[in-house]
Symmetry: C2
Subunit: 217 residues, 2 copies
Amino acid sequence: MVLPRAARTQRRTRIQGEKEERILEAALEVFSAHGFRGATVDQIADVAGMSKPNLLYYFRTKETMHRALIDRVLDTWLDPLRAFDAEGNPVSEIRSYIRRKLEMARDFPRESRLFANEVLQGAPHIEDELKGPLKELVDEKAEVIRAWAKAGKIAKCDPYHLIFAIWSTTQHYADFDVQVRAVLGQGNSGDGRFEDAARFLERLFVDGLQVSEQPAS
Amino acid sequence: MVLPRAARTQRRTRIQGEKEERILEAALEVFSAHGFRGATVDQIADVAGMSKPNLLYYFRTKETMHRALIDRVLDTWLDPLRAFDAEGNPVSEIRSYIRRKLEMARDFPRESRLFANEVLQGAPHIEDELKGPLKELVDEKAEVIRAWAKAGKIAKCDPYHLIFAIWSTTQHYADFDVQVRAVLGQGNSGDGRFEDAARFLERLFVDGLQVSEQPAS
DNA sequence: TGATAATTTGACCGGTTGGTAAACATTACA
DNA sequence: TGTAATGTTTACCAACCGGTCAAATTATCA
């Protein structure tokens, strides 16, 4: 019988696991580089080193593949925010959140671009995730930040916009990598660049740019 | 004779001007929403309210259209950075640069997304612009910032990363608009949101988050 | 007005795209 | 080992895509 891929009724085959892994890895490569529409199944099959019909045996459609990828990656992507600890020292919590996000931009740029592509084009495939799990997590952490501000442990500020600012500044180094490299020139890449960015951002978020003896009232 | 579109040897027709305008407007709409590859000529023709062959009479290829659009928009896009004034007061120059960039994200989100799509996918069509005019302008303004820092007028910081931070935080509101709206919820849009963001960012960049009596050494 | 150039259209083309059908090959397991 | 389920391949399709062509229509201006 041709009870195809993901034959959940049966136990998973060894081959199933291996192939699905290879496919999702290839899909991440291609989707992150070209977006959903711009990616082609042929291309993904090619990167995964298998024929297109073979790939489609494991994921019936391009959309199925994309969804499986999103589901797998979203959790990881939100881990740094989840690690945000209400009990910790506010400034050092924010500092280490920035650093963790920056590390993710460095170590998982494809994941960052996968989401960036998706959101940029109106999030047609992940609207539910944004309005559901993402919003809930952000709401929760925003409350933590608000409490810190209220207690005078950090400056009074809109916690949502603070989170947006951390997201955008850190993910910028993954999503706009080509532009960053074009502006900084050839010589500047790798760990040097990463450390420069980390130092700058930690300082920016904590102290700002002003050389104040007296903080403005 | 069929001396087609942009018959530069002849003076431009009234119709030429009007149609090219309508086409570029439609192209901006479609390219910014779907990226170069994801956009189709049919779709652009449809939005422009004309037939595909008619559109292709004015712009021979999809690429020609895209390039014309980029050329037209890039200048405008860099205007706020050009307005950056070495003679002005550093903090208020930075403050008003942030505000101008934020206004552009609000008033020209499609232009922002046009570039974001392009850069995100490796800037295959605008590499030259990034390494040329863009880099030169940034180099020039980075020098201004560096001088301010050296003179003790603002905190010592990497000027390039400062510019990246301003770009990313402001453009975030155009490029990731769907996500911002999903997280903030329905009620929060329009001018209220804009003012919140502006207030937050100006404060962040100037003062940081710390509630310091003493700035860290 | 008439002729000439500019514009518009419908029909069409070759290549690509996501996806299918069915035959063939391999694996797992009783 | 045999056989049923799983996995793979070749050939293919219909829809879509960027772009062409030639004929028809409209604007321009002497």
